[in-house]
Each structure stands twice: as structure tokens, then as C-alpha cells.
């Protein structure tokens, strides 16, 4: 019985007082960066003797978590508005713009849709992001640039407001929807299942990704190095490989 107590105590100690453990970096990133960061984060960790914990979700959800006091070191969003808002509330240090992405219309690969006007046709199930998530905001921004009757017709076809871009991709690859607005990087990441239709330049929103070090970060120095790596380092390379554009 005594031996059991000893083992319990030791393991608690080992868990709590691990001064020899590698440092841990917690990164909250928009889900469109999933594939890219999952490749480069372990390499960053190895190089800096750190363990990188990645958390992907809609950028708005991640911002809300930080507001609620979540212990995050780095915040990387799919727009600049959310990081700027956090910075204005002293929750994030000065954010940097580290990448751009292209906002596209994605359809199943054998679809006969080839332009945004085709979305005005009746019975064309469309999936978009919810209003509060960046992809949803970009979508509404783009549709607002269309003539109002086209905008109305397209919005009438919306069948689901997904909380993050992966949900949109899922509905497309499942064959549930005929079209959806996603990032180019997501269309590419879906293998050959999806076809990305580029939008006319006048419709395209400026999709700029912003990132910063969270004010109450446990690992500010390490976080700073990670953020720098997003613009000019291993992760920048991974983002480029995935199809992201360079910082503006």
C-alpha cells in the first residue's frame, strides 16, 4: 500500500515539476493553415527544443478563447481584423501580416459550374462560412460587390453557415453541396476532389493573414521566433508550398 502512494506521488511530481522538459509553445491558428503548420511545427519544435501544440478552429472562435483567458502563446488568424481587435484590447502584441490567400469558389471536380454567376441558378445548394468567421465575412464582402439581384439569388441558395472552412470543404467532398466559398489552399488540400474557380479581380477580397504574440504568453521569446518564422522561416516555406501567397 505504501509503495502505491510513493509511485503516485512521484508521478505527480514528474508531471508538475518537469524542469528538464522541453518548453511548450501553444499556437492557435485558423483552420485553413492546418496542413501547412502540421508539417512545419514539429520541425520548429525540434530545432528549438520545444514542443509545439497546435490548435485549429475558426479564427473568431480562437479569438474568443483568448479573450476568455486561454493560455495561448501565438495567434494566427485568416484576417487582420481579429488580430487588430485583440491588439486594441491589449491582448495581443503588434500583429504582423505574414501571408495572403486567395478566396475562391470551389466545386466538385466534375461540376458544370464555372463562374460565380452560375450560383444564381435555382436549386444550387451552396455552403458558406458563418458571418463571424473570416471565410464567411470575405464571402459576404464579395457577394456585396455583385449587383443586388445576383447577390440575393446567390444568398437564397445558401444551405449551411459552417463554423469553419473545413466544414465547407467536407460538405463539398461529400457531395452534399454543389458549391462553396473557401481558400485556394483548402481547395488544393482536398486532393483532386475539388476544382477551384478563380474569381474576377474586382470581386476578390484582400485576404491577408495576421499573427501576433499573445500578451500573457508563457513563452514570449519562443512565440516571437515562431511568428517571425511565419514570414521568413521554415513555416513560411511550408505555407508557400501549400499555396499561400507571401506577405503583402
Amino acid at each position: 500500500m505504501k509503495r502505491v502512494w510513493l509511485v503516485v506521488l512521484l508521478s505527480i511530481c514528474a508531471g508538475a515539476c518537469g524542469s528538464d522538459d522541453p518548453e511548450r509553445l501553444v499556437v492557435s491558428a485558423a483552420s485553413s493553415m492546418t496542413e501547412a503548420l502540421e508539417k512545419c511545427a514539429p520541425r520548429f519544435g525540434d530545432a528549438d527544443d520545444a514542443e509545439v501544440r497546435l490548435s485549429f478552429a475558426g479564427s473568431d472562435e480562437l479569438a474568443a478563447q483568448i479573450r476568455q483567458g486561454a493560455k495561448v502563446d501565438v495567434y494566427a488568424a485568416a484576417n487582420t481584423r481579429l488580430p487588430d481587435e485583440l491588439h486594441a484590447d491589449d491582448l495581443l502584441t503588434q500583429p504582423v501580416e505574414f501571408a495572403t490567400n486567395e478566396f475562391v469558389l470551389a466545386v466538385p471536380k466534375d461540376s458544370d459550374i464555372d463562374s460565380i454567376e452560375d450560383l444564381t441558378r435555382e436549386r444550387t445548394p451552396l455552403v458558406v462560412g458563418s458571418e463571424s468567421v473570416p471565410i464567411g465575412a470575405y464571402t459576404r464582402e464579395t457577394l456585396a460587390r455583385l449587383p443586388s439581384d445576383q447577390e440575393k439569388a446567390i444568398l437564397a441558395n445558401v444551405r449551411s453557415n459552417e463554423p469553419d472552412v473545413k466544414g465547407i470543404v467536407g460538405k463539398l467532398t461529400q457531395g452534399a453541396a454543389d458549391a462553396g466559398f473557401v481558400y485556394m489552399t483548402d481547395a488544393t488540400a482536398a486532393g483532386g476532389a475539388l476544382k477551384a474557380i478563380e474569381l474576377p479581380a474586382k470581386l476578390q477580397p484582400q485576404v491577408t493573414y495576421g499573427a501576433g504574440v499573445v500578451s500573457k504568453a508563457d513563452q514570449p521569446k519562443l512565440a516571437q521566433r515562431f511568428v517571425e518564422g511565419l514570414t521568413d522561416g521554415d513555416c513560411a516555406g511550408a505555407l508557400e508550398d501549400a499555396g499561400f501567397g507571401p506577405a503583402p
Binding site: E131, S132, G167
Partner: protein, 267 residues
């Protein structure tokens, strides 16, 4: 004597910890905002739509579960047949499936690209992005909660009651409706409450299978998720409603079970 006092103290500490952990989040929902704010947030159309949709979809799925699940449970409880153990395990399977897995399972079976997707489409039935899809998801995750309890409830009914019913000239169907169900009612009510709670709270499978659209597929849990990053008060208000409804369900089950303590099921 000291040993006993130590042990009692430990028990009290554990209970206090458990109680605090479980009640604090619930209490916090009501403490964080004024009642006025909560009621105001409930008034906005998205919230009302979500509440009404949750109510409709849950009611529909519970109805299906009761109508199909009750006779099925009766069969499982009263007859033995080869392979019975396997059937029971299969029925209980969704119980241990994580909701995300349930979503995948539904997509793979009755989703548009699923095994039966083509047939469903040909029959003109729409499940994706439709309330019917929500009902399918809720029924799938909630039915094992009911069926399991129902099987136990039926199995606990004294067999001599059924024998008596037969000797008194009643057909098995008559005995099922007039004897089995009333006598097993407390157990059936408990099962219904569990299924109801599960269906009301269902999130992952619904989102993956049916999507999220106000008034059509955005149930209360999905609405809470949609709002929490931008309108926390609204999320709180919806959560408070769900807590109140869940508490009401629990309470009514206790009342029905109260009849069990007297050895009878209330009429």
C-alpha cells in the same frame, strides 16, 4: 478512531469537489448576465428559431424512437434467439461512439455519397441541409439510450403477469399494450429522459451530417456555438434555456419514478 475521521474527511472533500465542479459552470451561466439581458437575447429571431427547431426535431426523433424502439426492446427482453447477444451489442454501439464518429458513420451510410445515398436521392428524400437530416442524426445518437433502458425495464416485469394475461384470454399484443408498458413505465420514462437529453444536446453529428442553417438545421447547441465568439450573452441565454429544459426533464422523470416506489405506475 483517527483513521476513521481521516477517511470520513476525505469522503467529504471528494464530494465537495465533485459538487463544486458540476454545479459551478451551471450556476455561472445564470450569474454572468442579468436576467433582463438574457431574456432580451432570447427575443432575437435566430435564438427563437433555434429553440423551436430543437423542440421540433427532438420531438420527432423521440417519437420515432418510442414507436420503433419500444416493440424492439420488448422482443429483445422477452425472447431469446440465436445471436441475441450480438443484436444487443449492435444496438448499444452508438452509445459509445463519439459524436464525430457518429457523424462520419451517418455520412458514410445515408449521406449523399454514402452507401444508400443514391437510393435516398432517387426516392426524393433530402437529408443534407434539411430538418429531416437533423432528425436522423438525433435518432441515431439517442435511440440506444432509450432501447437499453426499455429492455431492462421489460425484462424486470414479473413473467407471471404475462402468463396470467394469457390465461385470461388476452392476445400478446393486448398484454404488451395493457400490461407490459404500464408496468414497465418508470423504466421507460427514465429511458425517454436520457434519450431526450442526448438528443437536445447533440452537436457534432448534426453539424457534420446536416449542416448549420438558421431555422432549418441550426439547433440550440449549434446556435450556441455560432454565437459564442461574437455574442456571448446570446450564447449564455440559450445555454440557460437548455439547462432549464434539462432540469425539467430530470424532475419529471423523478416524479414518474416516484410511482415506482409505491409499486405501481401512475395511470
Amino acid at each position: 478512531m483517527t483513521r476513521r475521521a481521516w477517511f470520513s474527511a476525505l469522503l467529504v472533500v471528494c464530494l465537495a469537489a465533485a459538487l463544486t465542479f458540476l454545479t459551478l459552470p451551471v450556476v455561472a451561466i445564470f450569474v454572468d448576465s442579468t436576467p433582463g439581458d438574457l431574456i432580451a437575447s432570447l427575443g432575437e429571431p435566430g435564438a427563437l428559431d433555434a429553440l423551436w427547431l430543437s423542440l421540433k426535431a427532438t420531438a420527432a426523433s423521440i417519437a420515432i424512437i418510442l414507436v420503433v424502439g419500444t416493440p424492439a426492446a420488448y422482443l429483445l427482453a422477452t425472447r431469446s434467439f440465436p445471436g441475441r447477444a450480438i443484436v444487443v451489442t449492435l444496438i448499444e454501439l452508438p452509445l459509445v461512439l463519439p459524436p464525430a464518429v457518429a457523424g462520419i458513420a451517418l455520412l458514410a451510410s445515408v449521406g449523399p455519397s454514402g452507401v444508400l445515398g443514391g437510393a435516398i436521392d432517387a426516392a426524393g428524400i433530402e437529408l443534407s441541409f434539411a430538418t429531416a437530416g437533423v432528425v436522423v442524426a438525433l435518432t441515431f445518437v439517442a435511440s440506444p439510450f432509450y432501447v437499453r433502458q426499455a429492455v431492462a425495464a421489460f425484462a424486470a416485469v414479473d413473467r407471471s403477469l404475462l402468463d396470467a394475461s394469457r390465461t385470461l384470454g388476452a392476445s400478446e399484443a393486448h398484454a404488451f399494450l395493457r400490461i407490459m408498458i404500464p408496468v414497465a413505465l418508470p423504466g421507460l420514462a427514465a429511458g425517454t429522459a436520457l434519450a431526450l437529453g442526448r438528443a437536445l444536446g447533440e452537436f457534432g453529428a448534426t453539424l457534420m451530417f446536416a449542416g448549420s442553417f438558421q431555422g432549418i438545421t441550426q439547433t440550440v447547441p449549434l446556435a450556441i456555438y455560432d454565437r459564442f465568439s461574437t455574442d456571448f450573452d446570446s450564447a449564455l441565454a440559450l445555454s440557460a434555456v437548455l439547462v432549464a429544459v434539462s432540469a425539467a426533464i430530470l424532475l419529471s422523470v423523478k416524479l414518474v419514478r416516484g410511482g415506482e416506489a409505491l409499486g405501481i405506475a401512475p395511470r
